[in-house]
C-alpha cells in the first residue's frame, strides 16, 4: 500500500499544475482541462483519505465530483464553442468585455 503522504504530495502537484494551467494558459480548452486537473487532484485526496480512514464516504464523494466535473466540462465546452462562433478565437486574453 502506498503511504498517504506520497499520495497527498502527488495530489498537491497535480493541483498546482491545474492552478498554473488555469492562470497561465491562453487557450480556453486548455483552461478547462486544467480545471479538470484540479478537480481530479481533489478526487485523489478524497479517495486516499477514504482508503486511509477505512471510510467509503470519500470514494462516494469522489464519484459525485466526477459527475459534477463532467457536467461542468459540458457547459464549459458549450461556452467555448459559442465564444469561437462569435469571435473567431478561443484566446481568453481577448475575452475582456466584462470590465470598466
Amino acid at each position: 500500500m502506498i503511504r498517504l503522504p506520497f499520495v497527498l504530495f502527488f495530489a498537491a502537484l497535480l493541483f498546482s499544475a491545474g492552478v498554473y494551467g488555469v492562470l497561465a494558459r491562453r487557450n480556453a480548452v486548455m483552461v478547462l482541462m486544467a480545471i479538470e486537473l484540479m478537480l481530479n487532484a481533489v478526487n485523489v485526496n478524497l479517495v486516499a483519505f477514504g482508503s486511509q480512514l477505512q471510510d467509503v464516504t470519500g470514494q462516494i464523494f469522489a464519484l459525485f465530483v466526477i459527475a459534477v466535473a463532467a457536467a461542468e466540462v459540458g457547459i464549459g465546452l458549450a461556452i467555448v464553442i459559442l465564444l469561437y462562433r462569435n469571435r473567431e478565437s478561443i484566446n481568453v486574453d481577448e475575452v475582456n468585455l466584462l470590465k470598466w
Binding site: 488555469v22 492562470l23 483552461v31 481568453v92 486574453d93 475582456n96 466584462l98 470590465k99 470598466w100
Partner: protein, 654 residues
C-alpha cells in the same frame, strides 16, 4: 317699608365693590361691542352708572339709618409681613362720595349723548368716561393706600386721554401732556409718602384706618409722619391743582366740556381733597406745621386763582379758576382741624353739584354758540331759558347766596376759620367777594345784554337740558343737608363721632352774605351797561400780571421746561450719536467681520471637505478601476492570492 329698605341697604353695603365693578364692565362692553351697538355704545355706560347710582343711594341709606362702617377684602399679595388686600372700606364719607361721583357721572354720561353727538371718537369717549368713573369710585372705597394709588393713577391716565380727546389740534394734546406731567410731579412725592407711611409701620400694613390708629396713638415717629403727610399732600397739590402745580387745570379745559365737568370740577380734582380727609389722622397728628403748610398753600391758591378768574374771557377758564379757588377753600379749611375738615367735606359735596352744573351749563352755551369766549355771547337768556335758569342757580350757589348749597358749606368753613384764624378768615371772606364778582360777570356777559356771536343760538336737546335740571335741583336741596337749623343730617351720616363740631353764627352768615352781595352788585354795576372794553383793564399793571398768569407758566417754561428739554435733548443727541450709533455700527461691523470669517470657513473647510471627499472617492475609483480588467484569469489570480493569504492567516503558518 322702611325696615325692608333698611335691611336691603345693610345687605347691599357688603357688596359695595359692585358699584366700582359696574363702570369697569360697561367700559369693557363699550370698548368691545360699542361700535356695533345701536347708539354707538353710550347705553352701556348709562345703564351701568344708573345701577351704580341706585346702589350708592342704598348704601347711603344704610348710613342715614345710622348704620356703621363696613370693611372687607381679600388677600392680594404678601411680601414678608407686609400684607396687601384688595377690598372696600365704606363709611359715611365714602358713601357720600359714591353718591356724588355716580350722580355727576350719570349726568355727564347722559349729557354727552347730546354734546358729543357725531363726534369721531364717540364710543371711545364713553369707554374712557366709564373707566374714569370706575377709577374714581375705586379711590373712594379703597381700604388701603396701594389700592387707592391704582385708582389715583388710572384717573390720571383717563384725564390725559380725555383732555386730549381732540388731539388733532396740537394745543389740545399739549394741554393733555401738561396736565399729565404736572400731576405726575405731584404723584412722585405722593408715592414716596405712601412708602414712608408703610415704612413707618414697619412694613406691616398699608391699611388706611390701621395707619390712622397707629398715628393717633403716637406709635410712629412724628418726624416721619410729618414728612409722609407733606409728601402725601404733594399728591393733593398735583391732583387738586393747588399752587404751585395749579398750571395744568386751566389748560385742561381744552378737553370736551362734559369731561371738564366730571373730571376737572366734580370728581378727580376733588380726589386730592378727599385724600387729605381720608388720611386726616396722619395730618392732624403730625407736627403742627404740616397743617400750616396746607393753610398757606390753600390761601395762596384761593386768592391767586380768584383774581385770575376775574379777567378770563373763556367761560370755561373762568370756571376752571373758580374750581381752583374753591378747591383751595377746601384745602385751607382742612388745615383748621376736625371742624374745618367736616366743613371742607361738605363744601366738596355741594361744590361737586353746582360746579358740575355750571360746567354743563357752560357746555350747553358753547354747544349753542360754537365759541368758548364770552365776548361772543350775551343775551342768551331768551333763546336758552333752561340753561339760563339752571346756570343762574349754579352761579348763585357758587357766589354763596342763601339758601343754595354753596352758602351753607361756605358758611361752615368761615365759621371754622373765625375761631382763631383771623388772617385766613379775612382771605376767605375777600375770596368770597371776588367769587361773587367773577360769577356775576360771567352770568351778565353770557346771558344779559345783546348777542355778539354768529348764527341763531337755540336751547340744547333734552339729553343735555335734563342733567342740568337734575343737578340744579340737587344744588338747591343738598345745602339743607348741612344746615345747622335742620340739625345738619349730612354731618351725622358722615362724621357720626363728632357732629357737635358744627354750629351756626348769625354774624358770620350775615358777613358772608354781605360779601357775596358786595361782589354781585359791583359786578352788575360794572358789566350790565354795554361796554367796548373790559372795565378791569383800567388796572393796567394788574391786568397785565393776570393776563400772563403771574408769569408762573412762563417761568416754568423758561426756567424748567426749556433748560431741561434743551439740555436733555442735547444729551440725548450726543448719546444717540456716540453711544447708540456706536453700538449699532459696532454691531454691524462685528456681524460683517464674523460673516467674513464664516464665509472663509465655509469655503475653505466645509466646502473643501465635501469636495475633497468626492474628489478622493473619484480618484481612488479611477485608480482601482484598472483592476477590473475583464480578464477572468487575472481575477482568478487575485482570488488565488487571496485564498493563499487567508490560508496562511487562518492556519497560522507564519
Amino acid at each position: 317699608m322702611v325696615a325692608e329698605a333698611a335691611t336691603a341697604a345693610s345687605g347691599i353695603i357688603t357688596s359695595s365693590w359692585i358699584v366700582v365693578l359696574l363702570p369697569v364692565i360697561s367700559a369693557l362692553l363699550t370698548l368691545f361691542f360699542g361700535k356695533r351697538t345701536p347708539g354707538k355704545g353710550a347705553v352701556y355706560g348709562i345703564v351701568a352708572l344708573g345701577a351704580a347710582f341706585v346702589m350708592s343711594l342704598l348704601i347711603l341709606w344704610h348710613f342715614v339709618q345710622g348704620g356703621g362702617t363696613y370693611t372687607s377684602g381679600v388677600d392680594w399679595f404678601t411680601i414678608g409681613p407686609f400684607r396687601v388686600e384688595v377690598g372696600q372700606y365704606i363709611d359715611g364719607l365714602a358713601a357720600v362720595m359714591l353718591v356724588v361721583v355716580t350722580t355727576v357721572s350719570l349726568c355727564v354720561h347722559v349729557y354727552s349723548l347730546g354734546y358729543m353727538d357725531g363726534d369721531v371718537r364717540f364710543t371711545w369717549f364713553y369707554v374712557v368716561l366709564s373707566l374714569f368713573t370706575a377709577a374714581m369710585l375705586n379711590v373712594v372705597i379703597a381700604p388701603n393706600l396701594i389700592q387707592l394709588l391704582i385708582g389715583w393713577e388710572v384717573m390720571g391716565v383717563c384725564s390725559y386721554l380725555l383732555i386730549g380727546h381732540w388731539y388733532e389740534e396740537k394745543q389740545n394734546s399739549d394741554a393733555a401732556i401738561k396736565a399729565f406731567i404736572t400731576t405726575r410731579i405731584g404723584d412722585v412725592p405722593f408715592m414716596f409718602g405712601i412708602f414712608a407711611l408703610i415704612f413707618a409701620t414697619g412694613f406691616t400694613t398699608s391699611n388706611i384706618s390701621a395707619i390712622g390708629e397707629l398715628v393717633k396713638s403716637h406709635e410712629l415717629s412724628s418726624a416721619l409722619v410729618a414728612g409722609a403727610a407733606i409728601l402725601l399732600f404733594g399728591g393733593t397739590i398735583g391732583k387738586s391743582a393747588q399752587f404751585p402745580l395749579h398750571v395744568w387745570l386751566p389748560d385742561a379745559m381744552a378737553g370736551p366740556t362734559p369731561v371738564s365737568a366730571l373730571i376737572h370740577a366734580a370728581t378727580m380734582v376733588a380726589a386730592g381733597v378727599y385724600l387729605v380727609g381720608r388720611m386726616y389722622e396722619v395730618f392732624i397728628n403730625a407736627e403742627p406745621w404740616v397743617l400750616q403748610v396746607l393753610g398757606i398753600i390753600g390761601a395762596i391758591t384761593m386768592l391767586g386763582s380768584a383774581f385770575m378768574a376775574l379777567i378770563q374771557d373763556d367761560i370755561k377758564r373762568v370756571l376752571a379758576y373758580s374750581t381752583l379757588s374753591q378747591l383751595a377753600y377746601m384745602v385751607a379749611s382742612m388745615s383748621l382741624g376736625p371742624a374745618g375738615r367736616n366743613a371742607a367735606f361738605f363744601h366738596l359735596f355741594t361744590h361737586a353739584f353746582f360746579k358740575a352744573l355750571l360746567f354743563l351749563g357752560a357746555g350747553s352755551v358753547i354747544h349753542a354758540v360754537h365759541s368758548n369766549n364770552m365776548s361772543d355771547m350775551g343775551g342768551l337768556r331768551k333763546p336758552m331759558p333752561v340753561t339760563f335758569w339752571t346756570f343762574l342757580v349754579g352761579s348763585a350757589a357758587l357766589a354763596g347766596i342763601a339758601p343754595l348749597a354753596g352758602f351753607w358749606s361756605k358758611d361752615e368753613m368761615l365759621v371754622s376759620a373765625s375761631e382763631g384764624h383771623e388772617l385766613l378768615f379775612a382771605i376767605m371772606l375777600f375770596t368770597a367777594v371776588l367769587t361773587a364778582f367773577y360769577t356775576t360777570r360771567m352770568v351778565v356777559q353770557t346771558f344779559f345784554g345783546t348777542y355778539e356771536g354768529h348764527g341763531h343760538p337755540h336751547e340744547s336737546p333734552p339729553s343735555m337740558a335734563g342733567p342740568l335740571v337734575v343737578l340744579a335741583i340737587g344744588t338747591v336741596i343738598v345745602g339743607f343737608l348741612g344746615a345747622p337749623q335742620l340739625h345738619a343730617p349730612f354731618f351725622k351720616w358722615v362724621f357720626f363721632d363728632e357732629p357737635e363740631a358744627l354750629h351756626f353764627e348769625a354774624w358770620i352768615a350775615l358777613v358772608g352774605t354781605a360779601a357775596a352781595l358786595l361782589g354781585i352788585i359791583t359786578a352788575w354795576k360794572l358789566y350790565s351797561p354795554k361796554r367796548e372794553t373790559d372795565p378791569l383793564r383800567r388796572f393796567g399793571g394788574a391786568w397785565n400780571l393776570l393776563e400772563h398768569r403771574y408769569y408762573i407758566d412762563a417761568f416754568y417754561m423758561k426756567g424748567i421746561v426749556y433748560p431741561v428739554r434743551d439740555r436733555a435733548s442735547a444729551a440725548v443727541y450726543w448719546f444717540n450719536q456716540h453711544v447708540l450709533d456706536g453700538i449699532v455700527n459696532g454691531a454691524g461691523a462685528a456681524a460683517r467681520g464674523l460673516a467674513q470669517v464664516v464665509n472663509l470657513f465655509d469655503r475653505g473647510v466645509i466646502d473643501r471637505a465635501v469636495n475633497g471627499v468626492a474628489g478622493t472617492a473619484g480618484a481612488t475609483g479611477g485608480l482601482l478601476k484598472y483592476i477590473q480588467s475583464g480578464n477572468v484569469q487575472r481575477y482568478m489570480a487575485f482570488l488565488f492570492v487571496g485564498v493563499l493569504v487567508l490560508a496562511i492567516v487562518f492556519a497560522k503558518l507564519v
